[in-house]
Amino acid sequence: MTSDLSNFDLVIAGVGGQGAVKVSDIIGKAAVSEGMDVRAAETHGMAQRGGSVVNYVRLGCDLGSLIPCGSAHGMLALEPVEAMRYIHDVAKDGIVVMNNSPIYPVTVTSGQCTYPDPQEIVTRLEKDYRVVAFDAVALARQAGNIKTLNVVMLGAISSYLPIPEETLVECIRNMVPPKTIDTNLKAFRLGRETTRQ
């Protein structure tokens, strides 16, 4: 059950350091310049140091910043395991845009835990959701800098957001360091192409 109390509820899941906050900021600013009400919540503090991170953005919503369980319209997952970790926030048949290239937590590299097969994650998610999964790291590299992974992902989810593409592009221009504008715009375009219906 998605909510009609909000125009679009988005969950952004990832790992501290991947730039999830930046993505939510770009979307939030773009929404405000479109005249929408926006609410957003982010993970701070402890979780920033490479921990699991989840952010919420509610577009066209004047309520609280937390999205009720199982009701988000969509998810942007910067990392496969993190997609699975927070998928309960998304409504059935919601859109899940996911980077399928993993980041292993220290618990995995040190042998305490095992990391599931990313393809298996995709297969499971496809049962209940509309899933678009691809290697965003490769696209970010193609754009010229793997740090643009977050903007690749923003490009991919942008096809589903109730915000015009030009507005998002304008916000990217204003919000990334001037020297990196071209790389980021290329990253956005490459991401957008993966989901353009």
Binding site: M1, E42, G45, G51, G64, P68, R85, V106
Partner: protein
């Protein structure tokens, strides 16, 4: 400047402080409160004074002094910080203020980054200082200028309680114009007011009690409390803070019509509570953490003999711990009023996922220090620690205790005093040492503990967002100032073994720690190396390291070191180093096969 902007709750609070024409701001960093001072300190143009103080007590006293001189002042901290500042707080309530003073405290339901979940509203009841509580970032901004006015009108400080979801929530915010400064800054002698000797305190206590009713009356009609009575409905909701917003959404989702009282002030609006109770048969009180409002509502109901059933935490319909959300509110409301809860159940997800705890950064010097410390003192030694990035060393087995800011040294002393025979080596960060570690060290030296104190000086307050401290030689606004020298400070307190070492130099660190361990008495070692994040921001770059796959035997020893840049390739059964590597070089020493080396240019 006016218009609409998208901002973080703490940035909105900072804006409210500016709109309220503040003169002096002080604070001590602590998540979720830190961005308020950070935002104000980074403003290019500013017509007020701002500082990071060494702890919350000091910060509170600075703000009080400013206010005695007629200035509008703000002090910021997190909930546990108010414990440190509780001493001045309680007497400040008697003494009162002249210029408006706002005490901003950010609570952290669910301990997202805290060691407990205490509720600041209890301090408001305890000290009889009024408290304002916003339910959205917009309200948070709008409340601050009002808080100054309220404070000046009754000459009493005002507590402003935020929570994580306000402070770290983002929202579109409608800005208002900045007010003109009005107050004249001038300290007027008035010993009856400013000197709290018993004779004066005995006069001020009844005074404090006498203004409570007026304050309550004023807050009742202030607009921060909203009452809407639904004539058709026999049920009601009383809620405050972000919980009020969740409760509203929960009602809409459940399709229930209920009378609603949103409370934003303490003392609470008793007349409104009475009106609601008179019109309803069942009421649920929804508030995060402590049942402050719930208890008061029950007292009011008993006093006027209302029959209304009051639900909340006492009957377990709502939890007393953790953070609220719409789902928790829906469930509580549904149970209280005997209706069906929601049908939205999340899809099944039973896959086992690896945990992903936060870890110290790639290249963090603490990792090297901890590694050597464990080697020298042995895994069985006792390692009391403190609050900061280095608490993440818990995964390395180098953090045995964490009580509160500054406690590592005193806890270490206590363990020694108890008669523990194992070696004791405690760790404390630079900012934490200035906060309250100094007192503990002085005590340990004076009382002849036999412990090693490792001051992890990473040249910043990293965990909360890299705020400057007195060891950095920079103020909050990044102006140069004196740099407090740890070694000389420790020597001045009577420490005889004091050495400074670079933790990137593991051999030298090992040597110093060996001698510190052998030393009888308090030995102090200062491991000094800038946090990799601040170093990177300053443009310092090192050559990254790599694994020579021919030499790597796949023993996984380097993986145990816990650097996020070191990975293991399950196919080739060899270690590898990824792009996160900051080039600290600490891992070369770990590999017994010399397979780790600098990337050749």
């Amino acid at each position: 400047m006016s218009g609409r902007e998208y901002m973080l709750g703490n940035v909105a609070i900072a804006r409210g402080i500016v709109e309220g024409a503040v003169d002096v701001v002080s604070g001590y960093p602590g998540t979720p409160s830190s961005e308020i001072v950070d935002t104000l300190a980074s403003m290019k143009e500013r017509d007020f004074y701002i500082e990071w103080s060494v702890n919350e007590k000091v910060a509170m006293e600075v703000a009080s002094g400013a206010s005695m001189a007629g200035a509008r002042s703000v002090v910021t901290m997190k909930h546990v910080g108010l414990n440190v500042a509780a001493d001045p707080l309680m007497t400040l309530a008697y003494m009162g203020v002249k210029g408006g003073m706002v005490i901003i405290v950010a609570d952290d339901p669910s301990c997202h980054s805290s060691q407990n979940e205490q509720d600041t509203r209890r301090y408001s009841v305890f000290s009889q200082i009024p408290c304002l509580e916003p339910s959205t970032p917009q309200q948070a901004k709008d409340m601050i200028p009002y808080a100054f006015e309220l404070s000046e009108k009754y000459e009493i400080p005002v507590i402003f309680r935020s929570t994580t979801r306000i402070s770290h929530g983002k929202s579109d915010i409608e800005l208002a114009p900045v007010s003109q400064k009005t107050g004249e800054i001038k300290f007027e002698k008035n010993p009856d007011r400013w000197v709290m000797v018993p004779k004066n305190a005995r006069v001020r206590h009844p005074h404090l009690l006498s203004i409570q009713q007026d304050i309550r009356g004023e807050l009742e009609v202030s607009g921060w409390n909203e009452l809407s009575i639904e004539a058709e409905s026999t049920v009601g909701i009383i809620a405050c803070g972000t919980a009020a917003v969740y409760a509203k959404e929960a009602l809409e989702r459940l399709g229930i019509t209920a009378s609603f009282l949103k409370i934003g002030t303490y003392p609470i609006p008793e007349d409104s509570v009475r009106q609601l109770l008179a019109k309803t048969e069942q009421v649920i009180v929804i508030e995060e953490l402590e049942p402050v409002i719930e208890d008061q509502c029950k007292v009011i109901a008993r006093d006027v003999e209302f029959e209304t059933e009051i639900f909340g935490k006492a009957d377990g319909l709502l939890p007393r711990t953790g953070e609220f959300n719409v789902d928790i509110c829906m469930e509580g409301i549904a149970k209280a009023f005997g209706i069906d809860s929601c049908e939205c159940k999340p899809a099944n997800q039973d896959m086992e996922l690896p945990v992903r705890p936060p870890a110290m950064c790639a290249g963090c010097s603490h990792r090297g220090t901890f590694h050597v410390m464990k080697k020298v003192f042995g895994e069985d030694a006792v390692f009391p620690s403190d609050i900061g990035c280095y608490t993440l060393g818990i995964q390395h087995g180098t953090v045995d205790t964490t009580l509160c800011m500054g406690a590592s040294i005193s806890v270490a002393s206590g363990i020694y005093d108890a008669g523990e025979k194992k070696p004791i080596c405690c760790t404390i960060g630079d900012s934490t040492f200035f906060h309250t570690g100094i007192n503990s060290l002085m005590n340990a030296i004076y009382n002849k503990s036999d412990i090693t104190v490792l001051i992890l000086d990473n040249r910043t307050t990293a965990m909360t967002g890299h705020q400057p401290n007195p060891g950095m030689g920079k103020t909050a606004t990044r102006e140069p100032t004196v740099e407090v020298a740890f070694d000389r400070l420790c020597s001045a307190m009577g420490a005889e073994f004091v050495e400074v070492v670079d933790p990137y130099d593991m051999a030298a660190t090992e040597d110093v720690l060996e001698r510190a361990k052998a030393y009888k008495g308090v030995s102090v070692v200062i491991a000094k190396r800038a946090c990799v994040i601040s170093a990177a921001r300053e443009g310092i770059r090192y050559t990254p390291f790599m694994v020579d796959t021919d030499l790597c035997k796949g023993c996984r020893k380097c993986l145990k070191f816990g650097c996020p840049a070191i990975e293991f390739d399950e196919v080739s059964k060899k270690a590898s180093i990824n792009s996160m590597c900051s080039g600290c070089g600490l891992c070369i020493e770990i590999c017994t096969f010399n397979a780790i080396m600098e990337v050749k240019k």
